[in-house]
Structure formats: C-alpha cells, structure tokens
Symmetry: C2
Subunit: 200 residues, 2 copies
C-alpha cells in the first residue's frame, strides 16, 4: 500500500470516524481492499488461530445487493441510511471460519480497526456495522453455514463532516446539526482512566 | 503523542508483533500510557457507548503484582513466561464498565489494536493477554465487581526478535528457534480472501 497521506497514528486515529455518507461514484480498486485485508492478516490473533475470512465487494451490483442487509445509525430516528448517490462503494464482510474455531475472541475488532485505519490512510472512510440482516445476506450471497457473519465494513469516499464533541449529561447519542454535520460525543480521558481505589 | 518513529500504517502493523520478552529496566512514562489510552478513546465504539475503562501501571511494585495473574504463550510448553529482567515494565488493564452495558461488542479488540499500534510508534511493544487469573487479579487490585476484567496489555521495550513465517500444514503454533528467536506462522492472503461461490 502506498502511503498516500503520511500522518502519525494519533492523526490517523482521530480522522478515522464512522462515516455513513459517501461519494458513491468513487470507485475503490480491488487492490486497495486486498491491501486492507493484508493489514488485518498481520494483526494479532488469539492463539494465532487466524480464523477470519474476508469477502470483498467493489462493484455496483454487489454493493446494491449488500446495502439492504444493513441497519444504519440507530440513534438517527428519521434517517434510514444514505440515499442513492451517497452509499458506500465497497464492502468488506468479515466472516468467522467455524471449521477453525467457534470463538473468535477479540480478533474481529482488532482486524476491523487495522482495516479502518488503513482506509483512512488511503483517503477513504467508512463504518463498522454489526447490525446486519444475517440470514438474508447469507442467502443472497450464498455464504456457507461454516462461516459466521461477524461484521460488515462499509467503505467509500466520505461526503460528510464529523465533529467530536465533549459529552454532556452522559448522553452518548450522536446527532446531526442543521447543516447535516454529524456530531459524536466522546467521554473525556479522565473518565476512562480509573484511579484511586487500588491502593492498600 | 510525538511521532518518534514516522512510518506508514503497513510498516506499523507489520512491526506490531506479540512481544513477550523485554528490557525490564526500561521505564515507561505515565504520559505515554495516557496517550495510548487516548488512541483507544478516539476509536470506534458500538452505539458510541464507550463502556471501556483503563487501569495504568508503570511501577515495579504493581508490575510485580500483576505478572503472576498472566498465563504466557500457551504453545511454548517449556516456557512459563519471561524471566526476571525480561518482564514488562508497564500494563494497561482494559475493563468493561457493566453499569454502562453488559455487552462490550467489538470495542475491546478495536481499542487494544489502537493501543498496540501506538506502542509500536513509541518504540515499545507488547502482548494482548486474555488468559488471566481474573479473580486473583480482582482481589489483589481491589477491582469492583461492576468492572469486567477483559484484557491485559503487557508493554515494554522489546528484547526478542520475531519472524513471520509462511504457514505449513495448517500449523498455527508459534515456536522458538535455537537462538531463542520467536517464529509466527501466518496464513497467506489468498487463503483469507474468499472467492468463487458467490456468483449466481
């Protein structure tokens, strides 16, 4: 993978937001998707089992078939997902190979994070989606029962702005402002790092 | 966090191996650990709940207390973990706050990967450890029941070489050679990317 956008990891992590609206006309090359899977391949795996498999889609036909299997943005009650023209132009479906193990441990999150960081570096963005109509997707794509459908990574050229806000009143719900910018409340560091009761 | 070792993500991911032997004399500043948690803080969280909490340890006393709670390297049958002098010099314990949610989804893997990549950028390394004597650790550190003990990230200045090998005969077990170098067999990309049965 070429380093198209050299940045340190902090910048990369901060830029890796959950994007849900894209320039659907932007084509993502299969080589790019393969490069992202290679990042997942080289990431940690419980007991080194490496039980994850990947399905890659970058064609209009398959993107249209996968799109209806996804539940988008539960907190946005009047929004049912990106309109035509703003939809992802590629998907990576992460499967768990049950012939290797029945428990996939932390592997899917580790792999997904490597992929999404890699997407940002490529000037892309996307969203990890666990809310999936799994049986419909399995039937449509003829995914054998030996594979558990774990996560869908929707990818595209982002076409929305996302702002990180300080959390207020413990309300974690993301929201959209008048300009349709997306806002995400994040807990401050001092709330996440525990101190105090361990001494003694 | 300063970008001490500028590299693209592919290099960073490839260098982020599971290290288990360290220069124990190397001190890791608390600020570095806080920077790593900030990377986790800004990573994706299911429904944006952000239920993970973090305990940070960088003192000899606490490192000695945490070390016995860890089961090291299951595949190395004659090796029970790093000797004194080669042990981690910091730990990040990832907890799940059950007062926020009972299910932590993919958050721990996502967060752990951000942290371990950040450690590599800092010239550090380590190992994600899920095999933990949880009750002993909970009692010793007085971790309240409302927190699930999810993962321990052992961190230090790596003092071993790790080689990635092509997998043979589907044997995923890592091993050590005569020079005590660590070898990790990885599945090839073509085995991970599924093709063929989806058409029609």
């Amino acid at each position: 993978m070429n380093n198209k956008n050299a940045m340190d990891l902090k910048e990369l992590v901060y830029k890796t937001r959950s994007f849900r609206r894209f320039d659907e006309s932007y084509h993502i090359d299969l080589k790019v998707l393969e490069g992202l899977v290679d990042l997942a391949r080289m990431s940690a795996s419980a007991a080194n089992r490496q039980p994850l498999k990947y399905l890659l889609f970058n064609t209009t036909e398959f993107c249209q078939r996968i799109f209806p299997s996804i539940a988008w943005a539960a907190y946005l009650k009047d929004w049912y997902g990106p309109d035509s023209g703003e939809r992802p132009s590629a998907y990576i479906i992460i499967l768990g190979d049950k012939s290797i193990t029945e428990t996939f441990s932390f592997d899917p999150g580790i792999a997904a994070q490597s992929i999404m960081l890699g997407a940002t570096e490529e000037g892309l963005g996307g969203c990890m989606i666990g809310s999936i109509k799994r049986e419909a997707l399995r039937n449509d794509l003829r995914i054998p029962e030996k594979f558990e459908i774990i996560l869908i990574l929707a990818l595209g050229k982002p076409a929305e702005k996302i702002f990180i806000d300080e959390i207020k009143d413990d309300d974690v719900k993301y929201w959209r402002d008048d300009q349709q910018n997306h806002h995400v409340p994040k807990r401050p560091l001092k709330e996440l790092i525990l101190k105090g009761y361990l001494i003694g």
